[in-house]
Amino acid sequence: MAQVNLARVTKSFGETKVIHGIDLDIKSGEFVVFVGPSGCGKSTLLRMIAGLETTTSGDIEIGSERVNDLPPRSRDIAMVFQDYALYPHKSVYENMAFGLRLRKTSEEEIKRRVGDAAAILQIEHLLERKPRQLSGGQRQRVAMGRAIVRDPKAFLFDEPLSNLDAQLRNEMRTEIKKLHARLGKTIIYVTHDQVEAMTLADRIAVLSAGKVMQYASPDEIYNRPAAKFVAGFTGSPAMNFAPAKVSADGASVMVAGTAIKLGYPRTSAGGREATFGIRPEDISVGAEHANEISARVVVVEPLGAETLVTIAIGAEKPVEMVTRLSADIKLAMGDTVNVSFNSAKTHLFDVTTDMAITS
C-alpha cells in the first residue's frame, strides 16, 4: 500500500498542453476516481502515473518515492486496461503468472498466488483457457487477477467496465468495490461514467480540459459542486441551470420572472447576473418547500419507480427544468402544477468563471 502524490504535473504533446499543473494527494488505501468527459486528460494522467507517458513537468510520487524517471516496471503498480489487454497467446494462468515470472518468483509461489487470486475472483475453472475462449466479464476478471497476483503498491484502472453491457457493468462495479474492501489497496480508477465514480470512490477528481475542477468526496461533489461543470457532470438527470438575477441583499434570485429564495445569502453576488442551479430531486410538486411557484408540465417520462417531469416556469421567457417525482404523482402534459424549490439545495454560479458562489 502506498500514497500517490502529484505536484504541479503537466503534460504537453508538442505545442498542445493537455494536462495543466495538476496537484493531487491520494492517501494510502484510498479509492480515487478520475472522472470527466472524453478528452479531458484523465487517461493521460493515469498513464503518466503508470509511466506509460512521460511527464513534461512536475513530480509524481508513489509511496514517497519520486517516480518520474522510472519505467513502468519499476513503479510497482498494476494496471487494468479498457480492452483488458490479455496476452492472446497465453492461457489465463500464464497471463496471471507472466509478471511474477519476470520478477523471478519461484514456481511454487506463482502457483499459490495465481490460485489465491483466481479463488478471490472465482475464475479457478478458467485457468487453462485462452482469452479468446472467455466472455467479456470473464476477461475482465482475469485482467483484475493479473493485477492482484503482483501485490503491487497501487492499482490503476483505465475505464475497465466500458466494454461491458449494462448489467455486467453493475455486477463488476460491485465486485471491484468488494475487492477494494478486501485488499485495502490504493486504487486510482478512470471513468467517464459519473455513476461509477459516485458509487466506487472515496474521493473523486473531476477533470475538465486537463484541469482538476474539484477533488472531494462523492457527497461533497454532489451536494457542494465547486463549479458549474462539476454540477452538470454529476447526477442523472443533470442539475437544472437557469440564468438568474441576484437580489441586492443576495438572499434570493429572479428566475424567469419568479423569485426563488436561496438557502443562505450570497452577498458577494448581490445585484449581479448569475447562473441558478437546482437538482431535479430538489424540486417538489406542492408546497413541500418554500418558493412555491406555478409551472406548466411540458414532458412526462415515467421510469417505473419514479417519473421525470419537465416543467416550464415563467410566462414571458419560460425556463424548462427537469424534476424527479414519485411515480405516485400522476401528471399529464399541459397540466399546470404548483412546484416548490428546496432553498437549502439551491446553487449559484458565476456567469464568467462558472465557479460556485458560496458567500
Binding site: R47, A50, G51, L52, P71, P72, R73, I77, A78, M79, F81, Q82, D83, A85, L86, Y87, P88, H89, F98, G99, L102, R103, R146, R150
Partner: protein, 277 residues
C-alpha cells in the same frame, strides 16, 4: 446448385488448374529429367515420364562437384541473412509503428524506394566496398547485402502486422515488468508470428535464389553457393541436363520443405494484415 453456379465453379477450377500446372510444369519437368539417363533424354520421340528412372544423376551431382559445400554455403548465407533480417526488421517495424517518429511516412516511402533499386546498379560500388573491407570470398560479402536488400520488404511486412496489435498489450507487458524490447520479443513477436514467418521466408528465398552477387563476390569454388555452383556443371562443349536437373532439384527441395512446414502461417501472413479483422 443451378447450372450457372456450376458453370462459374468449373471455370474457376479450370483457371486454378491452369495456374497450378503452369507453375509446377517446369519443376516437374526438371524432376523427370533428373531421373533420366543422358541417352533417354536425347532420344526421339521424347519420353515424358522416365522409362527407367535412375538416381545416378544425384550421385554424380555430389561427386563431380562439391554440391554438399554449395548447399552448406547457401544454408549459411541464406540462414544468417534471414536471422539478421528478421531481427533488424522487427526492431525497425516496431519503431515505425509504435514510436512517434517525425516524417514517418517519408521513412516508409524511402524504404519502399530502396526495395525497388535494381541490383545491377549496386554491384560495382558493392564490389569496391567488399574489396576494400577484404570481404571477398567471405560469407559476409553476401550476408550483408542480402540483409540490406531484404530489409525493406520484411520491415514493411512486419510493420503491417504490428499495426494490428493493440499497443495496450505492450503497455500491460511493461507494467507487468518487461522492458520495451522484452515486450516486443515476448508479446508482440509471438502475436505477429504469421508476419514474422512471411518475412523470414521472403528473406530466405531471396538469399537462396540470388545469383549475381554470389557469382561476383564468392569466386573460390569451395565458397560457391548453390545458385552459382549449379552453373559449374556446364562444360565447354557439353551441357549435362540430367546432372544439372538433379542439382536443381537438390536446390529446390529445402525451400519447398521450409514453405510446406510454415505454409499455413505464411498464407495467413500474406493475406492477413492487409485488412483489419
Amino acid at each position: 446448385m443451378n447450372l450457372a453456379t456450376m458453370k462459374t465453379k468449373s471455370m474457376v477450377m479450370l483457371a486454378g488448374l491452369i495456374v497450378v500446372v503452369n507453375g509446377f510444369f517446369p519443376a516437374i519437368w526438371i524432376l523427370f529429367t533428373s531421373l533420366k539417363t543422358e541417352s533417354e533424354l536425347l532420344q526421339f520421340p521424347i519420353t515424358y515420364i522416365p522409362r527407367d528412372p535412375t538416381m545416378v544423376n544425384y550421385y554424380q551431382a555430389f561427386t563431380e562437384k562439391p554440391l554438399h559445400l554449395f548447399i552448406l554455403n547457401s544454408v549459411i548465407v541464406a540462414g544468417a541473412s534471414t536471422i539478421i533480417t528478421v531481427f533488424v526488421a522487427a526492431l525497425a517495424a516496431y519503431a515505425l509503428t509504435r514510436l512517434k517518429l517525425p516524417k514517418r511516412n517519408l521513412i516508409m516511402s524511402c524504404l519502399l524506394a530502396v526495395s525497388m533499386f535494381p541490383l545491377i546498379s549496386l554491384i560495382v560500388p558493392l564490389f569496391q566496398v567488399m574489396r576494400e573491407l577484404g570481404l571477398l570470398n567471405n560469407y559476409l560479402s553476401l550476408i550483408l547485402p542480402y540483409t540490406v536488400l531484404s530489409l525493406p520488404v520484411c520491415t514493411l511486412v512486419m510493420a503491417s502486422f504490428f499495426q494490428d496489435i493493440s499497443p495496450d498489450l505492450e503497455a500491460a507487458a511493461m507494467v507487468d515488468g518487461c522492458t520495451r524490447v522484452q515486450a516486443l520479443f515476448k508479446i508482440v513477436m509471438p502475436l505477429a508470428a504469421p508476419g514474422v514467418f512471411t518475412a523470414a521466408i521472403l528473406a530466405f528465398v531471396n538469399a537462396w535464389d540470388e545469383f549475381l552477387l554470389a557469382l561476383t563476390f564468392l569466386s573460390r569454388e569451395s565458397m560457391r553457393t548453390l545458385s552459382v555452383g549449379i552453373t559449374l556443371y556446364q562444360g565447354e562443349f557439353a551441357f549435362p541436363w540430367p546432372l544439372i536437373s538433379a542439382a536443381l532439384i537438390v536446390a529446390i527441395v529445402p525451400v519447398c520443405i521450409l514453405i510446406a512446414i510454415f505454409q499455413e502461417r505464411v498464407v495467413g501472413g500474406l493475406t492477413a494484415g492487409g485488412v483489419k479483422g
